[in-house]
């Protein structure tokens, strides 16, 4: 843990001794809770349809697969036709595409980004590396199975999958959401301890709150 995050006792200018615990003072300690679909079935259906037709991807490339997302924004593949857009901030995005191999260092940022997204949120694993490690299967600093760390909705296999494969994967994700099965955020909340244990097992320098609100 970084030095500035360690619990310590400091002396204030007027001579008082106070205890500072940065992790508890600066961050919210509460974990995520399960968010039920709070409306009648027909409204939830409408909402699910809207969620499926308006996928806002967090513009965050974790590995080499990010290069396959760029053609989707440009004339040849033009994913905007299908209601897929890119947002620059996790707050506004509801789809996180893990594009390729995920090093332990990046995993930390991915977890923070994922937790800052507002539910219902979805994760797409892009490329073989997210399924079983792919060509990095014996690497010392990449994770093998993305599913151990985040609830994944759709995998798109390939190394690299072509942009068409991505579009097909997004269409598949739309079907899942419309069927009301895109509840990754709730899965994450339900199995929070398990996910955290897995994450902390690989991230040795854990210096962030358990849940980044």
């Amino acid at each position: 843990m970084k030095e500035e995050l360690i619990k310590r006792v400091v002396k204030t200018p007027d001579g008082q001794e106070i205890e500072i615990n940065p992790m508890e003072d600066y961050f919210c300690q509460a974990g995520p809770t399960v968010q039920p679909p709070a409306y009648t079935a027909i409204i939830e259906k409408l909402f699910n349809w809207a969620r499926s037709e308006s996928l806002w991807i967090l513009g965050y490339g974790t590995g080499c697969g990010a290069i396959e997302m760029r053609p989707l924004m440009t004339p040849r593949f033009d994913a905007y036709r299908y209601g897929i857009q890119w947002r620059p901030t996790p707050r506004q995005a509801n789809l996180l595409v893990i594009s390729g191999y995920l090093s332990v260092k990046t995993l930390k940022r991915v977890i923070r980004s994922y937790e800052q997204m507002q539910g219902p949120k979805f994760v797409v694993g892009l490329g073989s590396c997210t399924i079983n490690g792919g060509m990095y299967w014996d690497s010392y600093n990449t994770i093998k199975r993305l599913d151990d760390f985040l609830p994944v909705d759709v995998y798109i296999a390939g190394c690299m999958p072509r942009p068409e494969a991505l579009l097909a994967g997004f269409e598949e994700l739309k079907k899942i959401i419309r069927a009301g099965k895109g509840e990754g955020a709730n899965t994450y909340a339900e199995n929070f301890e398990w996910y955290k244990a897995n994450q902390k097992r690989v991230i040795k320098d854990w210096d962030m709150p358990d849940y980044s609100w």
Partner: protein, 301 residues
């Protein structure tokens, strides 16, 4: 003057029409901009879907009271502007709550949303928000200056502060429009218009490629949806003021739709042709090209 209650439902009807028109027009303009880039662009109904999606998000994070009020202020800027401007000239139904001094109020409401947004985004505590707001307000102030000068020139020209009277004075032929009777003022106002539409070259405050994405960085779910609602209302409301002041107003909805669309196309055209200004470049641009025109308009009126 006696208040007629029937004006409230009529005003709500105006709001409804303008809201839908704004959503569809925004999508159409986005499609046109996409076609310039040889893309198909979003479907025309995409903005509705995005809106429903954002209202349906289950969780939201707050950063304090002003964070809540920011989008509310923003929306009331758009709604307020629309409510106090006569949308359709000569129509009892769609003249809303316009009164004799509504021009001053309209001028204020144009700025109101940005100020509310500055407070809200400031409290979100995100550094990108603060940078975006600083840039946005600086640029807005620079572009507001020629607009205010143009509005004063027009008010001097017609000797009134009532938008309805200004529209009335422009009736009777296209040559009676302010754009022909006072071209300097209109030129200044049209340059200012570019700066207030949040399109290139003046979108440095909001562009996702710059500070991502400026003021609304921390806004999400229904906060963002409120701002999207305003994004449909506010440009149309502002263009209503422009149409009324400079282009002879509109006597019916089709004429209104056409004039507003063409006006929007002006900023869309400029936007797809020219690259983005940095904020100090855009301020300099307004001060060099737009403000002198406005001063000239005031002097020569």
């Amino acid at each position: 003057m006696e208040f007629e209650w029937i004006r409230i439902p009529w005003a709500l009807l105006t709001l409804f029409i303008v809201f839908n028109f704004g959503l569809l027009m925004n999508a159409t303009i986005q499609k046109i901009a996409a076609r310039v880039g040889r893309r198909h662009g979003i479907p025309v109904w995409q903005n509705y879907v995005d809106l429903i999606k954002n209202y349906s998000i289950r969780t939201s994070i707050t950063h304090g009271v002003m964070f809540y009020l920011g989008p509310v202020f923003r929306l009331s800027g758009g709604v307020g502007l629309l409510m106090f401007v006569p949308v359709i000239y000569g129509s009892e139904m769609f003249s809303n709550f316009s009164f004799t001094g509504d021009l001053i109020l309209a001028l204020y409401f144009v700025f109101f949303g940005t100020l509310g947004m500055a407070l809200g985004a400031g409290e979100s505590g995100h550094p990108y928000s603060a940078i975006g707001i600083t840039r946005g307000l600086a640029q807005m102030t620079a572009s507001e200056l020629p607009f205010a000068l143009a509005v004063f020139a027009v008010a001097l020209q017609y000797q009134t502060l009532s938008i309805t009277d200004i529209v009335a004075a422009q009736q009777g032929g296209i040559l009676n429009w302010t754009v022909f009777t006072n071209p300097l003022a209109v030129a200044a106002a049209m340059l200012a218009f570019l700066g207030s539409m949040m399109r290139p070259p003046f979108d440095v405050a909001m562009a996702p490629q710059e500070v991502p994405i400026g003021p609304p960085t921390e806004y999400h779910s229904s906060f963002l949806a409120l701002m999207q609602t305003n994004r449909a209302l506010f440009p149309v409301a502002k263009m209503t003021v422009y149409v009324s002041l400079f282009f002879g107003g509109a006597a019916s909805w089709p004429v209104f739709f056409l004039k507003v669309f063409l006006l929007y196309m002006w900023s869309a055209f400029v936007g797809v042709v020219f690259p983005r200004f940095r904020v100090e470049q855009s301020i300099r641009w307004f001060l060099i090209w737009a403000v002198p025109l406005g001063v000239l308009a005031i002097v020569t009126v």
